[in-house]
Symmetry: C2
Subunit: 129 residues, 2 copies
DNA sequence: TTAATTGCTTGTTAATTGCAAGTAATTAGT
DNA sequence: ACTAATTACTTGCAATTAACAAGCAATTAA
């Protein structure tokens, strides 16, 4: 449990993974624009640590040499259940949640299916694995 | 999702909840001794915030007036699935994990049951709900 | 009635974050 | 070919936060 906290015990780290999973972010620029205002030095630091811990990989974009592509590894993808449960919890208790009733019911009734969907969606869209 | 991070996006907050769930901590002193070295001002701050957010309650110990008892609310207990998934993830990837094979297999095969067990154990031991 | 115990608060120092600016490598436009 | 953008960073500094140490009020035990 200390292990998770070492890696994820930080707001931005969590947001980076969320943006990769749910918004398809895979570039530095996208994180800067999407994450609710990460400072660029913090983003660089967190991407580095996530890479060192084996949750994401970095590679040059073969189609544009000045861009890098960031992708979740299996280890990173295995956080989907935890994250989806936290999403569900937010939906239950956040008075300003944006989650629809339909999504909440799906998370309540067919959670494991939801995990698989998120995983497959990610893998289909990132064109790496 | 931003909602969870506002509340839990902090190492110590998470450890407090973990200690309540798995170590039966319900007193200030116990957190100081158990949490891997929280500073007392930080602990006071986090307990206050957890209370304000409705994840825990504080009450005077009826048997000892200088002590307070901290307990998880339903809202706090509803984090058990998220936390157990993180525990499971740690068990999978932390090379120094202390989780036994038996526990890991139980988490893999009968996760929902594990959630119920943790919940019931907590409620049985805290003598409040 | 003195000494512990418990749950804090208040400084002060050290570490971390956030912001602004700048840089190297690559690509696009003229 | 040359200039201007774009992308992924780094660096320096101010502001915020955390960690450490000490102290304090309320209650209880000796």
């Amino acid at each position: 449990m200390t292990y998770v906290l070492e890696i994820l015990g930080d707001k931005w780290t969590f947001l980076i993974i969320r943006d990769m999973l749910f918004k398809g972010c895979c570039q530095y620029k996208q994180f800067i624009e999407s994450d609710e205002g990460v400072a660029t030095n913090i983003l660089a630091d967190r991407l580095k640590k996530l890479t060192q811990h084996g949750l994401i990989t970095q590679c040059k974009d073969p189609e544009n040499g000045r861009q890098k592509l960031y992708h979740l590894t299996e280890k990173g993808l295995d956080l989907i259940p935890s994250i989806l449960h936290l999403v569900k919890w937010s939906g239950q208790y956040d008075p300003n949640t944006v989650l629809s009733n339909a999504i909440m019911q799906f998370l309540e009734g067919r959670f494991d299916e939801a995990v698989q969907i998120v995983r497959k969606e990610y893998l289909n869209n990132c064109h790496v694995h």
